[in-house]
Assembly symmetry: D2
Homo-oligomer: 369 residues x 4
């Protein structure tokens, strides 16, 4: 099986695509459940809906479905599922037929693959990712009004996934067939696409496709109400002497206009904390295309992106629970074209030469990375 | 024609309802365009897309369609249109057919009723409100990233309308036929409904129906990013010695869980500033029903609702530009059942007797209002 | 003894006044220690330094001295001490001599009157208030960096006291002799002073004198870092169905320019939560005088002051633990001159006649209070 | 003259030190007055008190003295004065006598050296810095309540200076003689001091001494009310495509516990934006000593300090307007001992070996800087 043949376009099925409502939860395999619990519950404050010795089911403060994150004990860190909610029970059938027509490995579980979720279908999609689709789910208390339970950095919603895949246009075409719409992307003047953001719910994304060796999981993102909530998470990590979990940020994204922070969990899974992107629900919502050399595209303040953010990502599993092999990206890498000997970035287009003297040292440093 | 016969149910048309995307703009008639401009542009910071001697077209910072608010010079303050965007040009046709079947007065303007909007239909709906439906609209710069233009209280989105109508269940049935879904409502133990919130986009509402003499416009609401933005608007009004434009708040709503402020514009039109309600886009999103006697339903902190907020609202116009007569509410009023000789409110259900001594004076005062 | 003879000026001692550093703590008598603990520790998040069956010693997050608040079990709610820290051990001697010369009742406790504090002097001052002065104090961990312990509404500093006394100019003269400086006050055109704010540390106040029957304690105030922290306290009170503890606010003060909230504890003791006044440490810091009729003086947004805020305050104790009798104010009351039949307030000076129509109902209501 | 002989202690004068109230303003020489005005007025929003073709006098929103910053046109970027306010006119005389006894170059200007300031003394202090002391100053409107003039990133106070000097203990001893108190410092186990923070007003500092080749000016700092104000400055710089003015941050300091951002002005002068340190006014305020190898001392979140922040600083002028030569630091440099081949930093003391795998790449990178 060759899940990521960059040169082969994924065909559009004749079966109708399932009507996806939103990204709903991710299932993570972690190597030390207790240590992961410390991180997601005690540090980040996600709420335990239920747990047993093998798995913990967590939700955010405004969620009413059973969970937004499953942590499952395993031998090697990985992602077992990117799970989407569909609009009705019938849409689960549509998903099954859709992926069968695509020739993807498909499994159906009438009682769900995990606690709290009913009839579901899991597929290994044409890009190699383990996607799940479900409608039936246990309702739990929406804690939105329970301000007695809020912490300074309370996570209120699951916002999006982010996936690494070698061929972004191929992935975009496949996701558009599945009913997703592009809201923003990063390109260069030669037409190479480095990343694309796609949505079902009317935010900037339910998932994004980031160019790189894949299939891998780049990050899962939770939303806070305000920016100070994100700063509070940083402050708390400092107080707990866990600041090395901060990989990048906090900062303002160019893409999405959201305020962000990237953390790494005890297994290295990347978690973004994110707030305040914009409404994208109109059918003619303008797509924003960023120049890959624009130094404000990923951080609006021009702060550098650490190399690990570009290069590291989580293994994803096939439907048998085996790690998916990855395929390298054949096009140029975003990191390479923006920093280092072969790359460049600008703050003001056409103004590369007029950088203030005091800044040039740092830029040269950037070039050495 | 008797637009608001409380005892008559509005029939469900056999024509399909138009697919409404979201509330898009309101057209207000104001009696002193210059003075209204001072308020909406200089004080609140809405952005002028275009203007002439008779009208001003305003938008919020994250908007990409031509406007969210039209101020039009006129002799008497009123509301000329509650305008919704639909998903495609064909949906405008559907709206026309739908309301014709309902027997409502309907007008079609292929070039739009206002600058910036194309093919539109306006109707006087069965509740007596001037509703507009359009798809075609001029795109303008989305100023989301233009932080050089932000003020401390920047308004970033149009969030919702709020309408006063005598018979809330009748209005809800009509709006559900139109494809809206109830997210929250206020009832009493006897089954009287005092208000209901309804949405198309996945927030708590695109419009709400508030029980009272109607048809009248209760308020139009704009969103800020964070709570401090709303406080900044209050601070600025104080600095300009315009604090008497603040009618109620700021505070936290029980209903919607949003942070809010109510202002009155120079004509008395009510404007809400609003931030941080929650995602409601799932098909089985739980409806929240509040007890009308719960003193935290309209202000989560128990702060009193001023009487004018209950009793005053803006006149709406028919399609000829004449003020619509209003019909009184026949059921009990929310204000009457919650304060005054015949009303009561509780902080803790069943705990009316154990109020701290220092608070009883104020509660008695409340009863005297 | 007649502690509050409004017509008698308090003489200036020839002894030097003690060098007061700041307000340091208040000792409150509460009638149900467990219930008060619930309020101050579980709801407001003050930190317990130590406690026993009769008393609880509490501090704020940035404090390094033993406590900022003592709750002591007693039969009747009262204030046992307003305690100030002085610059050195010798200044305690100065305080003792100073008040002895004034003829005030004075007690010295070489081991302190309460746990955690050493050599102290307590006096019943010429206005009738139980004042304490100490230098020696046990140091405890300053929790400023312990973000793992912060709640969304964390109280970080004791900010000030507020005292009710019948004759404000008399009180001001006495406090100036004690080395305090006036930063702001409220007066009318006839020269009546309604309240004055006075400081040692360079904020707007360490204590304020509010005109009314006294001696009584109006409130004790704690600071948060930001405004959203104060809103979070309101939200939490709502979630706990304790919103009736909110007496007034949140709002922006005119006087002090701070953002505020007034709560009442289970005994009715008033607690202010306060943030962001300004630096006042220069010797020629400009005094700000507010017109008592300026409707933005106490709330910059013009929101009404509830009557209980003007009329209710806590009993203070003499050095034997007996309630101090109060003396009525002989001058006009701020509440009476600003609302009701004999009062008036303006938003814009000279603009009383041009209030918008929609606002006049509320103002008439105000006049009826 | 050898202003910075690291081995020579600066003697304590027998003359009394002037009673310094606070840091009051800095005078900067800039090479393009128009361009500097764009930065400080149009971007940062400082208020112009007055200006002419050679100089601009700027103040922050809560200031009531004439200015906090003077920009003066000159040929080479430099600092002409670090100016402190003293408690009375007589204290200016004391300053003159004090520095004359120290043998420092001293100038007295009865009408002030700059507009808005009266009788002043300027000295070239024993460390080589141009220090000014004044009492007499023109009062201007304190704009604290003028919320109509606030920008999202409004600067409300001058907070502190920061100076680079080769021998920190020598500088501390000199400043303590001048009446300053140390609040925090950075040391290593061998007793080397890398930096010290010192205050007159009860914040963490009025000035700090940073070890390095000196005398040079490291930065001047302005305060905002809240953290989001600092983020708004970054957002605005991004919108103006001036993000390359951001040198470091935003972040949370370990030292001072404040939230911070470092900018570079068009001449490379470093400006810090700063908010929410803590009260330090008690005479026994605990000094906080940080281990130089603690990776959270300068950024509580462990984000790296860019090399330019350590190595670059502004030239200071002598009283004749000539650039002061600098003397190298003879002790180890903070940058060298914390990163690179000879340095190390830890997140958890004693836990250098257990860093997560995904983080080690970055740390190795750190070592290569």
């Amino acid at each position: 099986m060759t899940p990521n043949t960059p040169d082969a376009t994924i065909p559009t099925p004749s079966s109708p695509a399932p009507d996806v409502v939103r990204c709903a939860y991710m299932e993570l395999v972690v190597t030390d459940l207790k240590r992961s619990r410390d991180f997601y519950v005690d540090v980040l404050g996600l709420v335990v809906t239920t747990e047993d010795e093998n798995a913990i089911y967590l939700r955010s403060m405004e969620e009413f479905i059973h969970h937004n994150l499953v942590l499952r004990q395993g031998d090697a860190a990985a992602v077992a599922a990117f799970s989407y909610r569909v609009r009705s029970p019938e849409e689960v059938d549509k998903a099954e037929a859709y992926y069968k027509e695509l020739g993807s490995p498909v499994k159906r579980a009438k009682n769900g693959f995990v606690t709290g979720i009913g009839d579901s279908v899991r597929v290994q999609d044409p890009l190699g990712f383990p996607y799940e689709f479900f409608y039936d789910v246990e309702h739990v208390e929406r804690l939105a009004w329970r301000y007695d339970l809020y912490s300074p950095g309370a996570l209120v919603r699951l916002d999006h996934f982010n996936q690494v895949t070698p061929d972004v246009p191929k992935a975009v075409k496949y996701m558009e067939d599945l009913g997703f719409r592009v809201t923003e992307d990063i390109q260069d003047a030669e037409g190479t696409t480095y990343a694309a953001w796609m949505r079902r719910k009317p935010t900037v994304h339910d998932t994004a496709m980031t160019g790189g060796a894949g299939p891998r999981m780049h990050h899962v993102a939770f939303a806070t109400h305000e920016k100070h909530n994100i700063l509070a998470i940083c402050d708390k990590l400092g107080a707990l002497r866990l600041s090395d979990h901060i990989e990048r940020g906090p900062g303002r994204h160019g893409v999405s206009n959201a305020f962000y922070l990237y953390l790494r969990d005890p297994d290295g899974h990347r978690v973004e904390i994110y707030t305040q992107d914009y409404y994208t629900g109109d059918p003619d919502n303008p797509v924003v295309t960023w120049d890959v050399h624009d130094n404000q595209r990923r951080d609006w303040w021009g702060n550098p992106v650490v190399p690990s953010w570009y290069t590291e990502a989580s293994t994803v599993l096939d439907l048998e629970g085996n790690p998916m092999p990855t395929v390298e990206r054949s096009e140029t890498d975003e990191m390479d074209v923006t920093i280092g000997a072969d790359g460049f970035s600008y703050t003001r287009k056409g103004d590369e030469e007029t950088m203030p003297e005091w800044k040039q040292g740092e830029y040269k440093l950037g070039h050495q990375l």
